[in-house]
């Protein structure tokens, strides 16, 4: 399981929310890469079918 949040523990050992987990950073980056690749492929396929301006 990937962690979504970061937690910290105070002097009494109590866990509290500290922020987003930075393990997520690569997922947001690769989501960008994936959408770009899908768009490149779709635009190429449409162009081949003769819809010129996409």
């Amino acid at each position: 399981m990937i962690e979504v949040f970061r937690y910290s523990s105070d002097a009494w050992g109590q866990r509290s929310l500290a922020g987003m987990s930075w393990d997520l950073l690569p997922y947001f980056f690769y989501a960008g890469v994936a959408i770009i690749v899908v768009h490149l492929v779709a635009a190429w396929l449409l162009k081949r079918r003769g819809h010129s301006d996409q």
């Binding site: 949040f5 509290s16 987003m20 930075w22 950073l25 980056f29 770009i36």
Partner: protein, 204 residues
């Protein structure tokens, strides 16, 4: 110059590139340390955040008072227009509808960035209470632990979403059919034929 149509006034182009530079500095100062490149980033980060905040404030006033703010605001009509254009792209039977000054995609991009930037500005402003600045000493007890946690989660979530958003924004700005808009964000203008091809002049 006869066939040149102004799309972005100089002041708006300066605003775009100033805010873009701020956002890139904010992302670099926040994420490079996370990626293992350590430096003392917090002061550069919030100071750039303050510059971004002032620029956004000026932009909002200008857009609401001196410009036609509805030109870039998503309306129900745009959704129908976007759907028709999607159909037209996928099947020869579909009918493409030219947008006014901004397409659904451009308006959606602006809306998403507006939401994300307002989110980082508000949460970042609150987070400044927790760091030492020339204006005040840090006060970590201003909110409860749980409330600070929520503020940091919202700042971090908006920051992560901006990574994907800005990647796509730059990709589209560099696509061959969109390069005329990139020129218009640098030099200000589109040619008459670029506007004619992509926009409904009546609604420009």
């Amino acid at each position: 110059m006869a066939a040149h149509i102004l799309r972005h006034a100089l002041i708006d182009r300066i605003f775009h590139w100033l805010t873009a530079a701020c956002v890139l500095v904010l992302m670099a100062t926040a994420f490079l340390p996370i990626l293992g490149i350590k430096f003392s980033w917090v002061t550069i980060h919030w100071a750039t955040g303050v510059v971004l905040g002032i620029a956004v404030l000026i932009h909002v006033v200008r857009a609401l008072v001196f410009q036609r703010a509805t030109a870039i605001w998503v309306s129900p009509r745009d959704l129908g227009e976007g759907l028709s254009n999607l159909k037209a792209a996928l099947s020869p039977a579909g009918r493409a509808i030219k947008p006014g000054k901004y397409s659904l995609a451009q308006k959606s991009m602006h809306l998403l960035v507006t939401i994300l930037i307002l989110a980082v500005l508000v949460t970042g402003g609150l987070m400044m209470v927790r760091v030492d600045t020339p204006f005040w000493e840090r006060n970590p007890y201003w909110l409860t632990e749980a409330q600070w946690g929520t503020v940091y989660v919202l700042h971090g979530l908006a920051a992560l979403t901006l990574v994907t958003t800005i990647m796509l924004h730059i990709y589209f700005a560099l696509r061959p059919e969109k390069l005329c808009y990139t020129r218009s964000m640098i030099k200000g203008w589109l040619t008459e034929s670029e506007r004619e091809k992509n926009h409904d002049i009546q609604r420009w």
